[in-house]
Amino acid sequence: LEPITGVGVHKSVKAENGGALQERPGESDEGFDAFYRREYDPAVRLAWLLTRSSAVSEDLVQEAMTAVHRAFSSIESPKAYLGKSIVNRARSWHRDEQRRRTRLVYLVDDRVVMDPADADLFDAVGRLPYRQRAVIVTRYWAGWSEADIAEALGCRPGTVKSLASRALDRLRKEVEW
């Protein structure tokens, strides 16, 4: 196949609602301690939406923060690095968790109190395959751009679109059932 040029140009995008990967002014100048204190809370919530276990989320965030600390002086956006690190660590956790769940009845997820219809949708997000769940959470909760999600998941932006579309179809079926 010969390279083809001049078609299909896409531009980088901004996250939709002040997304989690956007740099705040002065972020790169601050110390790790301040970064940790500011980002710990949203990082745990992101990890929890991906794993639905507060204990696991705290561990994942500690691991991810350690990785950020190690690279803090050399990375351009610690926040982006942290987010991607959490998504990747949650994926590994899911892989191991699925293996465990085939052998054990193990479901002590943290429960939330919501209107029943909303709770159904929230639970349905938790049942999505990991990549679809990661796309939904990072896109609609964290507000990441498709390019950022693609980079974190190691896929093309087109795949993010199709994962999102499949996830929405599945969620729609679940809530309309």
Binding site: V7, S12, Y40, R45, T66, N88, V112, G154, L171, W177
Partner: protein, 351 residues
């Protein structure tokens, strides 16, 4: 059916609410972790490539001799065929790269044929498609790439209800574990759908060029990182590959494709169901975005204008995370095997 925008709004609210309820207590940063992670890594001790002692050299020599004997036996007894470990990945069809004009002419001709078709009798729309896709699970130390093939039969009644049957066959990239096609169970893999529950992208889609174009661009919310041409080509591939588009809609898809300056002639090919067709291609990624470019091909029967296969290729190599051999790689293809109107749900059209 809940519109995408409503579902997305609900999702944002529900996720916000769920995340808000999680009690998060700041765990102080543990300096021991910081010290541990900040500690410089010692360089590995330099070891000689080969043992220097007499005993060590004897062991290495013995191991080398055993390996040489095993290799000789393997070469002597190796036979070609399905038992070999050649990856079971399909090769991209033999597409060529041509100019825009013949591609536009082919598409416009096929559009004219489709637009002039008489409506088929029968209240139920039937489509049989076969989808091939690479699925991958990427771990920290290992990734597993699985080839997944799904054959799907869909019957859509006029009231919007549908019957869907899916059969899946998984194959490891190395060619192992080839089970027979098996029906997929569960709510997400077929069954009966009440009106409005089966999300056919072609249901309710206009059939005139302007209407289709506008609807396709509106379909893709939050995709501001792609040009309109890429969105249109990508969307058309999705809509065509379901096999449920009407002849009028197919004609509109072809006319839109013909209008995209990036569409090029890709020559005569034999598709994965051994049918001869003519292909057009279009790049659906940004040439400057990265090392992997995605090219979408559409294989069309030039006589009937029917879409035969939609194939997406990663070029010049697959994404590195897939750990596949280098070279242009089929990311996904969809064969449109049979389509038509039938009298009732569950009945296949005559061949």
């Amino acid at each position: 059916m809940i519109p995408d925008a409503d579902l997305e709004t609900r999702l944002r609210r529900v996720l916000d609410e769920g995340a808000r309820q999680l009690p998060v207590r700041l765990v102080e940063w543990r300096p021991d972790q910081a010290v541990k992670s900040a500690k410089p890594v010692k360089p590995a001790r330099q070891r000689p490539l080969l043992p220097t002692s007499f005993h060590g050299r004897m062991v290495i020599g013995l191991v080398a001799a055993v390996l040489a004997i095993i290799a000789a036996i393997a070469v002597a007894t190796r036979s070609p065929g399905p038992a070999s470990a050649t990856p079971a990945l399909p090769r991209p069809l033999a597409f060529t790269t041509g100019s825009h004009e013949p591609a536009a002419a082919l598409l416009n001709k096929a559009a004219a044929v489709q637009a002039n078709l008489e409506p088929e009798p029968g209240p139920v729309r039937f489509a049989r498609t076969q989808n091939y896709a690479l699925q991958t699970a990427v771990g920290r130390r290992k990734s597993t790439t699985v080839v997944q093939t799904v054959v799907r039969d869909v019957w859509e009644a006029a009231d919007g209800s549908a019957l869907v049957r899916e059969y899946r066959q998984d194959t490891e990239a190395a060619g192992g574990d080839v089970g027979g096609p098996r029906p997929l169970g569960g709510r997400d893999h077929g069954g009966h759908y009440r009106p409005g529950q089966w999300a056919d992208p072609n249901a309710g889609l206009p059939s005139d060029v302007a209407g289709v174009r506008s609807a396709l661009l509106n379909n893709v919310t939050n995709a501001t990182d792609f040009s309109a041409d890429v969105i249109l080509a990508d969307e058309i591939s999705s809509h065509l590959s379901t096999g449920t588009a009407s002849a009028q809609q197919i004609a509109a898809f072809y006319r839109i494709l013909a209008s995209l300056p990036g569409v090029f002639d890709a020559g005569v090919v034999v598709d994965n169901a051994s049918r001869t067709g003519h292909a057009v291609g279009v790049m659906v990624s940004d040439p400057s975005a990265g090392a992997v470019q995605a090219i979408q091909y559409f294989v069309i029967d030039p006589n009937t204008g029917r879409p035969l296969q939609v194939e997406r290729i990663d070029s010049p190599n697959p994404p590195s995370a897939l750990h596949l051999p280098p070279g242009p790689t089929v990311d996904e293809y969809e064969l449109i095997l049979a389509t038509g109107q039938v009298d009732r749900v569950g009945v296949e059209p005559a061949p």
